[in-house]
Amino acid sequence: MQNHRVVITGLGVCAPNGVGVPAFKEAIETGKSGIRFYSELEKLKFSCQIGGMPLISEAVKSNYFTPLQLRNFNAAGILYGVAAGVEAWRDAGLEISDEQCDFDSGTIFGVGTLGVDKYRESIYKVDEGNTRRLGSTSVQQTMSSGVSAYLGGMLGLGNLVTTNSSACTTGTEAVFLAYERIKAGKAKRMLAGSTSDGGPYVWCGFDALRILPSKYNDKPAKASRPMDADASGFVPGSGAGALVLETLESAQKRGATIYAEIIGGHSNSGGQRQEGSMTAPNPIAVKRCITEAVQDAGISATEIDAINGHLTATSKDDLEIENWSEALGRSGMDFPYINSLKGMTGHCLAASGSIECVASVLQLKHQFLFPNINLERLHPAIAERVAESRIPKVKTPAKLNILAKASFGFGDVNCCLIFKKFQ
C-alpha cells in the first residue's frame, strides 16, 4: 500500500505569551515572556510563585463556547484545547457541518492533568455529602478525554476521537500518532494537539520535587533560562497547541495553505533502565529515538538545519545537547541551530510539545529562528559541544529546510518529529 504524504494546513495556539497564532507569532519573534507572578502561589507558600498561563478574555471564550456550555464550566485545559483546536480547524479553512459527521476527520488531543479545578470543586461537594448537587457536566469536564470529546462535538468529527497521555511528551506524540494514522490511509485529516491545566493544583507536585526555580519570584520574566549557566529549574506553564494534519491530496484538492510537511518521526521509551528512571531519561533510548526518526524521514542527519529542543532549563539541558550531538554525529559549528521555547512560555507540561510544534512550523513557514531568551552565559558543558553562534539569542532570519523537534517525559518516554518546508 502506498503511504500518503502528510502536510500541516492549520495552526492554533493558546500560550502564556500569546493567545491565537498572530499574537503568538509576534511574541516568539520579539522574545516576549509569558511568565508572571501569582499571588495565589505566594499565599499557598509555594517556593516557586511564578508560572505561565494564557490570558483569555470572556469575549474570546464566547467565541468558542455557547453560554450554556459555559454554565458551571471550570476546566481550563478544555478551554485552552478548544480555543487552540477550533482556531486550527478554522485556519485550515475546513467547514463545520451542523448536520453530519465527517468520517474522514478525527482528533488525537492529549492531556496530562485535566479539569483539576472542576475536580476540586466536586470533591468539596462530595465530601459534604452533596454529590447530587454536582450538576450534569462534572464527568465531561474531568475525564481525561474531555478535551477530545468537546472538540469532536464542536467540529463534527467522525474518525478516531481520542486523547493520548505521556507526560511532557504528550503533544509531540499526539502529532506523531496523527501523522502515522494519516500516512497509513486511515484518516484524511486529523486535529493533533495537547492541552494542560495550570495553577497550584497542577504545579504543586513539581514544587514539592524542588525542581522549580525559587529565586525569581520578583523577576518572573528572567526565571526560565534554558541552556544558561544559571538555569535553576523549569518554570511551570500551561496552555494548548493544535495542528491540522492532512493528506497532501486532500490539502491540494481543497486549495489549502500548506505550512509544512511532516516527513518522519519516532516514539520510544528507555524502559527506566540504564540511567533512565521515572523522572530521568535513558540516554541510549533518547539517541535511538532521534536516529530512528531521521531514518524514518529518509534523510541524512547532516540535512537537519535546526532543532527545537525539549530543553526545560533544568540541570539536564547539557545531557540533552550531548544526546542530540551524539545521535546526529554533529558538533561545534557543524551542529544545527537549536532553540527552546520554554524561555518564553515556561514548561507547559503536556501542552509543551504541541505549542512547540506550532512554533517550529511557524519558523519553517516564515524562515526564521526565534530567540533563546534569558540565555546570557551558555552552560560550559554545552559550550564544549556546540558553537555559540548555533544558539541564537535574537530573532534570526534563516534558510530552514528541515527541522527536528523532540520532547521527553516522565516515565522515560521520548518522541521526535521531522518537519520539512513544503515544496
Binding site: 450554556l68 454554565r71 447530587r132 450538576g135 450534569s136
Partner: protein, 83 residues
C-alpha cells in the same frame, strides 16, 4: 397558572434551550425534552436551579413529575405548601 412561579421557572429554563428554540415559544403545556428540545442530561441542572430559586428540595424519584412546564409548577407549588 401560578403567576409568581411561571416567570421564575421560564427564566430558569431559558439558558438550557438549544440555540434554535425561541424562549417565547415556552408554553404551560410544553414538554421540556420533547417540545423544547432540552438535552435530558440538563434536567438535573434545572432541578438544582429550581431548588435554589424556591428554596425547596426535589427528591430523585420526583424528577419524572417535572416533564412539562405546568407539571413542574404543580410540583413546586406542592413543595412550597409542604414547607
Amino acid at each position: 397558572m401560578n403567576q409568581e412561579i411561571y416567570p421564575k421557572l421560564t427564566e430558569i429554563i431559558t439558558p438550557y434551550l438549544p440555540e434554535d428554540v425561541d424562549p417565547q415559544s415556552i408554553e404551560p403545556s410544553s414538554h421540556l425534552v420533547n417540545d423544547l428540545n432540552i438535552n435530558s442530561t440538563h434536567l438535573v441542572d434545572i432541578v438544582l436551579d429550581v431548588e435554589d430559586a424556591f428554596d425547596i428540595t426535589i427528591e430523585d424519584d420526583e424528577l419524572d413529575k417535572m416533564d412539562t412546564v405546568e407539571a413542574s409548577i404543580a410540583l413546586i407549588e406542592q413543595k412550597l405548601e409542604a414547607r
